[in-house]
């Protein structure tokens, strides 16, 4: 699902005004937080204190280290999901047999909330790096898989017929038609997968071994360090928004021919 972004319709002046309003909104929010945050030091914290705490953690290397841990876990899980999801999705699109017989399984497994599986994964596979990667993988793989399969499956009949009229072989058909057509679908699956992998990363860090940003968050919370908890929470939300934006950029970058048909 697209995040609420500007349609880019208006003139630059209107857009400038929009940005200004957004900034004012953010500032007002910060101000309100600063005022509210002074009421109870344990239950709340001010943005200034949160920022100081983040800065301190950056200086002593905890935060960069945690970011790196989280990043590695996220990337490993996402990479596995992309490889597995795109690969199997393409295979599914060409083998009707495989599709009809396994698709219901995919949908069944997809509807299992991964949070609920976390304790089982913990018990079965422990809390090591690979168990955590498994959690991230399971969180992210389904949107990639389903989108890719749908994309490849919904290749316009006309294009397949063009290939067949020109007596294309199966390999050439994949190269010229199926893969390029599935690409943007796979990319929008990957965009969703990125968001899901991020959630999965936190599930892994919260319920398996507490490392990375999730670990810091839990640690700060058990030390009653609200400033850090709030600071990290905001950081997470900024990271999430950035990842969404990145996903959208990726989605666009991989399909230059998909742009609108304006002159």
């Amino acid at each position: 699902m697209p995040s609420p972004s500007d349609p880019g319709s208006g003139v630059s002046g209107a857009r400038l005004k929009g940005v200004a309003i957004s900034l004012i909104g953010l500032l007002a929010g910060l101000l309100a937080w600063q005022v509210l945050g002074q009421r109870d030091p344990v239950l709340l914290a001010t943005p200034v204190r949160s920022f100081e705490s983040l800065a301190a953690m950056t200086r002593d290397g905890t935060l960069p280290g945690a970011l790196a841990d989280t990043g590695v876990l996220f990337l490993a899980g996402l990479a596995a999901a992309v490889v597995g999801g795109v690969g199997y999705g393409l295979v599914l699109s060409r083998s009707r047999r495989l599709r009809t017989s396994t698709q219901w399984l995919v949908f069944a497994v997809q509807s299992v909330p991964i949070v609920a599986l976390a304790p089982l994964i913990l018990a079965a596979f422990g809390f090591g790096f690979w168990a955590k990667v498994l959690v991230v993988f399971l969180s992210a793989v389904f949107p990639v898989l389903i989108n890719t399969a749908e994309g490849a499956r919904h290749t316009p009949v006309t294009l397949l017929e063009v290939a067949r009229v020109h007596r294309s072989g199966e390999w050439a058909l994949w190269r010229d038609v199926l893969l390029p057509h599935a690409m943007p679908y796979a990319m929008s699956g990957i965009r969703q997968g990125i968001a899901m992998a991020f959630v999965g990363t936190f599930i892994a860090e919260f319920f398996l071994e507490a490392t990375g940003i999730g670990g810091l968050l839990l640690g700060a919370s058990s030390r009653f360090d609200s400033a850090t908890v709030l600071g990290l929470t905001v950081l997470v939300s900024v990271l999430a928004a950035m990842l969404m934006a990145l996903g959208q950029v990726l989605e666009r970058a991989f399909a230059p021919w998909r742009e609108g048909s304006t002159e």
Binding site: M1, S5, V112, P119, R258
Partner: protein, 278 residues
């Protein structure tokens, strides 16, 4: 809709897109019951063997789950847990989706509200709700209130974002139609904006249901509230994997049921959505 410029290759809207018919003659089994059975048998077999031979005691097994299904599903405490979760999710969905849809309509139609809320909505929308649970437990306590609030927030965001998209995008040249007919502002909202946003709102609810269940389970894990999540967690931790898996299955089924419900809802409230030509 196709523009006068000719076809654009937008995979999501391409009207010429259709199911690939493989070179094989079209007489193949469309339902493929045997294929499904074979796949099911294969998965269950591998699972059972892995569960018993490779990781005994740590993996739930199909037979074990089957054995636990009846006693678990009929136990009063399990049903109590299910009820706890379901009622909290239902309440949270109500408290999240209704304001979410209203907010979405406003955000979609009122430019300054949209600008004002964009940083917050896009910041929260993509954020794993898990990350706010530590803060939420401090603010709202280790009780049902936190669960309902987290569920409501999980539901609010997709509803608001999706509805806003719908409220902004009128199909075809309906905006022109409205102005040619000099439709008054109030009727523009009721006759144009609401119907065109409706399917988007329901799509938002669809997403919200999934997120709500995850949110509820996460809060239950972290705040030890009675519910399906805690049932899964405590059983998994005491290596009662089969029981835990019964819980997981029930949770997944709840999600499927709720989604099927919203899908039927769409068909009810938006019959025009199912463009089955011919």
């Amino acid at each position: 809709m196709r523009t006068t410029q000719g076809t654009t290759a937008d995979p999501t809207t391409d009207p010429t897109a259709a199911v690939v018919s493989p070179a094989v003659s079209s007489g193949g089994p469309s339902r493929d019951v045997t294929g499904k059975l074979v796949a099911a048998a294969a998965v269950l077999l591998v699972w059972q063997v892995a569960g018993t031979a490779w990781l005994p005691d740590y993996l739930p097994t199909p037979l074990g789950v089957l054995g636990q299904a009846i006693p678990t599903l009929t136990s009063a405490s399990f049903l109590g847990s299910v009820w706890e979760t379901v009622s909290a999710v239902a309440l949270g969905l109500l408290l999240g989706c209704v304001p979410g849809i209203v907010a979405g309509l406003l955000i979609g139609r009122v430019a300054w509200l949209r600008h004002l809320s964009t940083p917050y909505i896009s910041g929260l929308y993509a954020m794993p709700m898990l990350a706010i649970v530590p803060m939420a437990t401090i603010w709202f306590g280790y009780n049902d209130v936190t669960r309902v609030i987290v569920v409501a927030l999980s539901a609010f965001l997709p509803c608001a974002v999706s509805t806003a998209d719908g409220a902004r995008a009128l199909p075809g040249n309906l905006a022109d139609v409205a102005r040619v007919l000099n439709v008054p502002r109030r009727r523009f909202v009721t006759d144009f904006v609401l119907p065109s946003a409706l399917p988007f709102a329901v799509a938002g609810v669809h997403v919200a249901v999934g997120r709500a269940l995850v949110g509820a389970a996460a809060v239950e894990f972290l705040a030890n509230l009675d519910g399906l999540g805690t049932f899964i967690l405590t059983n998994a931790r005491s290596f009662a994997q089969d029981q835990a898996f019964v819980g997981v299955t029930v949770l997944a089924l709840l999600g499927v049921l709720a989604r099927a419900g919203t899908e039927r809802l769409v068909r009810r409230v938006a019959p025009w959505q199912h463009a089955g030509r011919e």
